[in-house]
């Protein structure tokens, strides 16, 4: 059977599974729609959180980023896992005890202010739309590459599937499909990684494989890679090139941003008890860690493979006419370009003026099974895995968008009199509208999708995270302080990123950055601005009301936590 038929079968099977789960897990009340009735098992929730978190970018692009940047790519690995420690230790148990549905709920109630709630809603919606555009695009790209349909058709199919289970099932449907999607995506990611690890190092565990010696007797894999990358003018793979302060700030912004992302936080409202929310964060990180510790291994295998395939064993270049079929396959998609500058008919890949190749980082995961000559069903599996990653994250984001509109804006602000049934109806309408907007951005992607990712994390780090942390750990923090902190932290971060990414991208280099901190890392400074402003303003304004201080006391221990509830 050829690759395409196999891909149709495997992808078709997984889609049928997701839709089947959606029909089985329909939501009947807002409580089921928002937090799955609060009865999800902690291990299940951990798995769902992992799928929620690991997006098309994690699945398709991250191994490529690490592969092309080596040691500098560590910021993403550290940042996107370390945030879970903050979530587990500083946020999740307390927010679960608080027992409401959304992040703006907590901020609005804790700071006894609808203005604070509105700022939080704005942040949540902005962060989610930023993210979701990229996911829908990812769905389209996977469809077009593996099934050879138009990107537009791919996006529409993706929209239809997400529509079905997110609108019908809400959080309940999403949770159980995410569990299935986690299984699909982790299997799809691990199988090629294990194959390649065995082929290159004889070690079945990729995490150990990339520290092992090569089977062809050319020494330790990483030593060889360091040698190759140095010789080709990229700089040694295991040595960093970014400034330490910048690396520090980027890691910080990613960690803190992760802990402030509303679609991740809200997942922990679905477990029955405070105790469950703590352990659930641990399970989430275990499931994420399986993939995130494999990513750097895969990255280094793929880099060696790629250099050797293109430059040949003698490092003099391979004749283009004899190039392996994957190079030509992926050339058609524009992910690889060969420009024979010196006219010798041979391809050469390097980090200096000898370079003749343009290689997109996404190729590392997408073409990996072909580069390593793996069986056709593995290639089909990668397609299903990429789709699972994109769909699971889109659904989680859509849920936050729809609850923000129906719960935080309508029920809590503009139309407090609507019944539960009406609220549920509005939530479904908001989810449907959200899908259409996301699909539009998927089909007509704004050119700045990659740039706005920095935005999403910067915003979460400089606005939501400090507000939540101070809300839990500092009883005396009042609404004036919190709002001033959010507005200034957010304003500073947004201004910095907008200036360097959109207004004056030509100036976007280390010489012009504030203390050498890149826009990706500025969220860390924004967070500090938020904290400092909040404390200063709180000092000179009125004290927090006693009943709020009592409420803060009451979220600090588990006893008496009920299900997540409406007032």
């Amino acid at each position: 059977m050829d690759v395409q038929t196999l891909t149709y079968i495997i992808v078709g099977f997984t889609f049928a599974l997701y839709i089947g789960i959606a029909i089985w897990a329909r939501a009947g009340s807002t409580q089921e729609f928002y937090v799955a009735g609060g009865g999800v098992h902690p291990v299940m929730n951990g798995m769902a959180t992992a799928a929620d978190w690991m997006s098309a970018a994690s699945f398709i692009s991250l191994a490529g980023i690490v592969s092309f940047t080596g040691s500098d790519g560590s910021v993403y690995l550290l940042g996107w896992t370390g945030g879970y420690v903050l979530l587990a230790l500083c946020m999740v148990p307390y927010l679960r005890k608080f027992g409401k549905f959304t992040v703006p709920d907590f901020i609005g109630d804790r700071y006894y202010s609808n203005a604070a709630r509105t700022v939080a809603v704005f942040c949540a919606i902005f962060i989610c739309f930023t993210y979701i555009a990229g996911q829908m695009r990812g769905v389209g790209v996977v469809f077009s590459r593996f099934l050879e349909v138009e990107i537009e058709t791919g996006v529409v199919i993706g929209m239809a599937v997400v529509f079905f289970y997110a609108v019908l099932g809400g959080m309940k449907g999403i949770t159980y499909t995410q569990v299935a999607q986690y299984c699909v995506l982790i299997f799809a990611f691990m199988v090629p990684a294990i194959f390649i690890s065995v082929m290159m190092t004889g070690q079945a565990i990729p995490q150990l494989g990339f520290g092992s010696e090569m089977v062809d007797g050319s020494g330790y894999l990483l030593d060889k890679l360091d040698g190759l990358t140095k010789e080709l003018g990229f700089g040694a793979y295991t040595e960093g090139r970014k400034s330490t302060l910048d690396v520090f700030c980027i890691t910080g912004a990613l960690m803190v941003g992760t802990a402030g992302l509303p679609h991740v936080i809200v997942r922990f409202f679905t477990v029955p008890k405070v105790k469950d929310s703590r352990i659930s964060a641990g399970w989430a990180l275990v499931f994420i860690g399986i993939m995130y510790t494999t990513i750097p291994a895969l990255a280094s295998f793929a880099r060696v493979n790629m250099i050797e395939t293109i430059n040949g064993p003698e490092m003099t270049g391979t004749e283009y006419a004899k190039a392996p079929s994957w190079i030509k396959n992926w050339e058609r998609t524009g992910l690889i370009e060969f420009n024979d500058k010196n006219g010798d008919g041979k391809m050469f890949y390097s980090g200096d003026e000898r370079n003749e190749m343009k290689i997109d980082r996404d190729i590392i995961v997408l073409a990996n099974p072909e580069i390593a000559d793996l069986p056709a069903w593995v290639i089909a599996l990668v397609a299903a895995g990429g789709l699972a990653a994109a769909l699971s994250t889109s659904a989680g984001l859509l849920l936050v968008i729809s609850t923000s509109v129906s719960h935080d804006l309508l029920k809590k602000n503009w139309a407090p009199d609507i019944s539960d049934k009406q609220e549920l109806g509005y939530a479904r309408i908001a989810a449907a509208v959200g899908i259409v907007i996301a699909g539009y951005f998927g089909i007509n992607p704004p050119g700045f999708v990659a740039a706005v990712v920095a935005f999403a994390f910067g915003l979460a780090a400089s606005s939501l995270f400090p507000a939540i942390i101070m809300g839990i750990f500092h009883k005396k923090m009042n609404k004036e302080g919190a709002i001033a902190g959010m507005v200034l932290g957010l304003g500073f971060t947004a201004a910095y990123i907008i200036y360097f990414k959109f207004v004056n991208p030509a100036a976007n280099s280390a010489d012009n950055w504030f203390m050498g901190i890149s826009p990706e890392g500025i969220g860390t400074i924004g967070m500090i601005v938020n904290f400092v402003t909040a404390f200063a303003v709180a000092k000179v304004t009125s004290e927090t009301p006693q009943e709020i201080q009592d409420m803060v006391e009451s979220i600090r221990f588990p006893k008496g936590a009920g299900e997540a509830h409406d007032h």
Binding site: S74, L78, L89, E213, L221, T244, T251, M255, L285
Partner: protein, 87 residues
Amino acid sequence: MSFESKEQADKYWKENLRVMFKLLAIWFVVSYGCGILFIEELNAITFMGFKLGFWFAQQGAMYVFIALIFVYVKKMNDLDKKYNVEE
């Protein structure tokens, strides 16, 4: 109030914070310390075929993160029992 007294509540919270800060200190050391600030010094040491600093940044820190959360869960569950505030 679920605690026997205000003092008990304060003591519980203090112990909770102590556990949290201890674990966060380890979190900081393995990620920002070993993986970023002292990566070059550690890279001089070889560990299982890896340069040690590089290993921390791309493997080790993540394993420690997972362990930290499970230790936290164990300690907090014990603390809740001690003060009789578990669910």
